[in-house]
């Protein structure tokens, strides 16, 4: 079973990398990009087949390591 965890900065947390990307897009001539936020994508290969258990485990992994919940949100997807 594959899982995908997306980690993004919380609203209100300044994202200087996103701002730099936005600036670069603008300088390339892409108009109308109002905001850019950069995040992380983590793909996991899980050995179990119990989706409910997997979701609970992934939530635990996010809270304990994959995200810093002081500044980041996370989203879990099982694929």
């Amino acid at each position: 079973m594959k899982a995908r965890v997306t980690v993004t900065l919380k609203n209100g947390v300044l994202d200087p990398q996103g701002k730099a990307i936005q600036g670069a897009l603008k300088s390339l001539g892409f108009a109308g990009v109002d905001d850019v936020r950069q995040g992380k994508l983590i793909e996991l290969e899980l050995s179990g087949h119990d989706r409910v258990q997997a979701e609970a485990d992934l939530k635990d992994m996010c809270e304990k390591l994959l995200a810093n919940t002081v500044i980041e949100n996370y989203r879990i997807e099982l694929i």
């Binding site: 947390v13 300044l14 200087p16 810093n68």
Partner: protein, 228 residues
């Protein structure tokens, strides 16, 4: 003062920090490898700067889950002193011993230079050798030292006098120009509620003897030697 310096893969300031403790206390610190699960009998545990685990995932995130960390937590819970410098500050926030987080510098650049710090609280175990409001020189070297905390946490830190050091200019003013990384409220170092854990981005251990160009950082270690 009995001290221990923690060593993780990718850390590179452990010798500087050990030398500062040795110089000031006359006793060489224990160097403790991250896979240990117990600390020697010490008063101070110091976590040095560097790039533990190559800053993978987030700065300090992997080091903060090392076997030795539970012992550090117990040491802090007992009231033992913990000093986290640079990567050590990032690790201490990742452990949760200090609130907030260190983010990418607002400039997106690694900053390696000397700055001025204002001692905002000189009544702590880490700062008593300084005068209140004293402006000191201190080197910095980091890419992710942009301190962030939510409004509620920030209000508590300020209200409880837990901001130990702030970036400032030569006159002691906290201006945007004197803030090297975009830290909120120009925060360079903070304390926990109990006052036994200090985290700071600048490197006082690199300004403790004339050979290094000054001794402004020495006061921090002398302060600790007074209480430990």
């Amino acid at each position: 003062m009995k001290s221990a310096v923690l060593v993780f893969p990718g850390i590179n300031r452990e010798r500087d920090l050990a030398r500062a403790f040795h110089e000031v206390s006359g006793v060489a610190p224990h160097m403790v490898w991250h896979t240990e699960t117990e600390l020697p009998d010490v008063d101070v545990v110091a976590i040095p700067g560097g790039f533990s685990y190559g800053d993978y995932l987030r700065c300090g995130a992997i080091a903060a889950r090392s076997p030795i960390i539970e012992a550090v937590r117990r040491h802090a819970d007992r009231g033992g002193y913990v000093l986290g410098i640079c990567n050590g500050f990032q690790i201490v926030t990742e452990i949760g011993l200090l609130p907030g987080a260190l983010m990418r510098n607002a400039s997106l650049k690694f900053v390696c230079k000397e700055v001025r710090l204002r001692v905002d609280n000189a009544s702590t175990a880490f700062t008593s050798a300084y005068a209140p409001g004293q402006v000191i020189r201190c080197p910095i070297a980091h890419g992710e030292g942009n301190y962030f905390a939510d409004a509620e946490t920030l209000a508590r830190l300020e209200g409880e006098g837990r901001v130990a050091f702030r970036y400032c200019d030569e006159a002691g003013e906290t201006t945007d120009a004197a803030n090297p990384n975009g830290s909120i409220h120009s925060i360079a170092g903070i304390l926990n509620e109990r006052g036994n854990v200090l985290g700071m981005m600048p490197h006082p251990e690199n300004l403790i003897e004339a050979l290094q160009g000054g001794i402004d950082g020495r006061g921090l270690f002398e302060s600790l030697a007074r209480v430990a």
